[in-house]
């Protein structure tokens, strides 16, 4: 199934990023299983095309804000896997000094302004980052990724209306994996789609196959261009599926039998792999991509496991400048 004008070089690059995300999370799950990571791990396995496609269309200085399920977004935006893995382990050298963990992963040096433990909270924060960019006359944009469950919280309305009212450079991305924790989102969600909600708030919206990495990238590129040109906010509705449970310990037994199995055939990595072999790439080469990703994340895992705990005085650092406690005060 050779697709005409498939950009093989680009796809293979995206493929490698998706493999890195997959491998990172497989090691994160393993670490949770082995109680090396104590906090909750929300895997994005099956959703790697969203992270990869979106970030491929962004500049390093563009802002990205994510969710509790943010490893892929953070890696794709350019964060270092080792520093991220150390963060999950709560170790020294973690990307947030071990103070945030998986749900607060962030790398401001690549414009990644944070995962967030509060569903939908980043929608307003992302609008604000865009507001700042506009005030300072920068041509950066701000991208906010959230789930299908998040569109039922107030900040969805307030943040989108805000962006529309002030014509801000924000791209809102609803990464719709059908489920919000153990609830099928459509059972508790009125209306047709996140896109219709956005349009009612004055924001043009598009839907895309969120498991087609090239389609996600292309749609994002188009929307980003419109936004950067001063066109105001846009929303992208990326339809994907959460292949595993809500967290690494969730067996997702509440899903109908066979639902996930069927969705595995639509896994974005398999799809990209099929396209690449169809375009003539050898299985050996694809396998080497896989093992590179695996090796990178194995090394990150080993590094994190061997890293020391943070110095306990750090618990008192970065609280605030004024009225900060000294460790001795306690």
């Amino acid at each position: 199934m050779v697709k005409t004008n498939l950009d093989v070089g680009r796809l293979s690059e995206r493929f490698r990023m998706m493999l890195r995300i997959r491998a990172f999370e497989e090691f994160a799950i393993r670490a949770a299983d082995e109680k090396l990571v104590l906090g909750a791990i929300h895997p994005s396995i099956g959703q790697e095309a969203c992270a990869t496609g979106i970030c491929a269309a962004l500049r390093k200085d563009d802002f990205l804000l994510s969710t509790h399920r943010g490893h892929g977004h953070t890696l794709a935006k350019g964060a270092d896997a080792t520093a991220m893995m150390r963060e999950l382990f709560g170790r020294e050298g973690g990307i947030c000094g071990g103070k945030g963990g998986s749900m607060h992963i962030a790398d401001f040096s690549v414009g990644m302004l944070g995962a967030n433990g509060v569903v939908a909270a980043n929608i307003n924060i992302a609008a604000g980052a865009a507001h700042a960019a506009k005030l300072m006359g920068q041509d950066k944009i701000s991208v906010c990724i959230f789930g299908d469950g998040a569109i039922n919280r107030g900040p969805f309305l307030e943040g989108l209306n805000w962006a529309a009212a002030f014509k801000l450079p924000v791209l809102f991305v609803c990464e719709d994996n059908e489920w919000a924790s153990t609830t099928r989102s459509k059972d508790v969600t009125g209306g047709d789609s996140p896109g219709k909600r956005a349009e009612a708030l004055g924001i043009a919206a598009e839907q895309v196959d969120g498991n087609d990495v090239m389609a996600v990238e292309d749609a994002t590129t188009r929307l980003v261009a419109a936004i950067r040109a001063g066109g105001g906010p846009r929303l992208l509705h990326a339809v994907t599926y959460r292949l595993l449970g809500h967290t690494s310990v969730d067996k997702a037994a509440y899903r109908p039998d066979g639902e996930a199995d069927k969705k595995w055939t639509n896994c974005p990595i398999s799809r990209a792999s099929t396209l690449l072999t169809g375009a003539g790439m050898s299985q050996t080469e694809l396998d080497s991509f896989r093992s590179n990703a695996f090796d990178e994340m194995q090394a990150a895992f080993d590094d994190a496991k061997a890293s020391p705990w943070p110095n306990t005085v750090n618990a008192y650092a970065d609280v605030q400048d004024i009225g900060a406690l000294q460790p001795l005060d306690t």
């Binding site: 103070k99 469950g149 919000a180 153990t182």
Partner: protein
């Protein structure tokens, strides 16, 4: 007496209340699957999806709708999932639920029980670990409860559901699996403390998970000949000032320990009340043991920095002796 977990005890209280009163119902996210900690397990099968209402991720609507449903004659049990997420529904709780009866001159009560699982629990970090019980004690109209044992979780939750007031009911996430004896029917009145351990040398006041650390400390102290009395407040509003004063009249020494931040935590209220109204009972300066004013970290060793340990308590008891 049957033994069950803190989780099961809460579930039993809800189940019995729902059997007894058709106007009692539960509302919160993922309740149909038993709730995020299994504390509603099996209830949907018994009571159906109307009364075990699985909500969208809409904390403001969960709380706000409960307020309206309470004013309209039902008795909602509101599940906030993590106490931290109640911050997404604070207007609904503090400006609406707590004040409606008063503002409307008594035309309506707002009988809701707001369950807010609180506290530190395996590297949950700054947004999933907070203990903000003192906030609610500051708000007229609210009752505040923080059970420490399965029996109390059954008895106090039963009382909370029965109450016509909005009750902020804070279970501790680290206690779900703790087991103990529970007797169906043993309702515990709100506002009454429990002497968790009798002693004569020092009064230790605590509640929720921290109570267990206090009890651990008494074992260390007892070996050293210090017999501490431990008071489990159970309810923070109203709180049992009389029980504390009575104990102090024996011991003359007060230690309050809690998991929440020390500054403006509920320990402050206790020390203030005691020093204001029972100054003469204090033979030594009272002591607060609580978290430093820093957010809760993810890394286990940094998280531990904010914990009050049994050793900390024992040391304070020696110091005050």
């Amino acid at each position: 007496m049957p033994s069950m977990t803190y989780r099961e005890a809460g579930r039993l209280a809800v189940q019995e209340a729902m059997r007894a009163d058709p106007t009692v119902w539960c509302v919160g996210e993922d309740l149909g699957r038993g709730g995020v900690f299994g504390q509603y397990a099996g209830l949907e099968a018994e009571f159906g999806t109307d009364r075990i209402c699985s909500a969208p991720i809409s904390e403001a609507a969960i709380m706000g709708a409960a307020v309206g449903a309470a004013m309209a004659g039902t008795r909602p049990i509101v599940e906030m999932r993590f106490a931290d997420f109640a911050l997404c529904a604070i207007d609904e709780l503090v400006n609406q639920a707590a004040k409606a009866r008063y503002m409307f001159g008594g035309q309506s009560k707002v009988p809701i029980t707001v369950r807010e699982p609180m506290g530190m629990w395996r590297s949950s970090a700054a947004q999933h670990s907070q203990s903000l019980e003192s906030w609610y004690t500051h708000i007229p109209g609210l009752v505040v409860v923080a059970p420490s044992t399965p029996a109390d979780n059954y008895g106090l939750l039963s009382a909370a559901i029965e109450a016509d007031d909005p009750v902020v009911y804070m279970e501790h996430k680290n206690l779900w699996d703790v087991s103990g004896e529970v007797n169906s029917g043993e309702i515990i009145p709100l506002g009454k403390a429990r002497i968790a351990r009798s002693g004569t040398d020092v009064t230790i006041v605590s509640w929720s998970a921290q109570l267990h650390t206090a009890l651990d400390a008494t074992k260390i102290l007892s070996r050293e000949g210090i017999e501490a009395e431990v008071i489990d407040l159970r309810s923070l509003w109203p709180w049992d000032e009389e029980a504390v004063a009575k104990s102090l009249s024996k011991t003359g020494r007060l230690i309050v320990c809690h998991e929440a931040v020390s500054v403006s935590g509920f320990g402050a209220e206790i020390l203030a009340t005691i020093s204001e109204r029972h100054f003469g009972l204090l033979k030594r300066p009272p002591i607060r043991l609580a978290a430093p004013r820093i957010p809760i970290s993810y890394a286990p060793n940094l998280e531990d920095e904010v914990r009050v340990t049994a050793d900390d308590i024992a040391q304070a008891a020696r110091r005050i002796d």
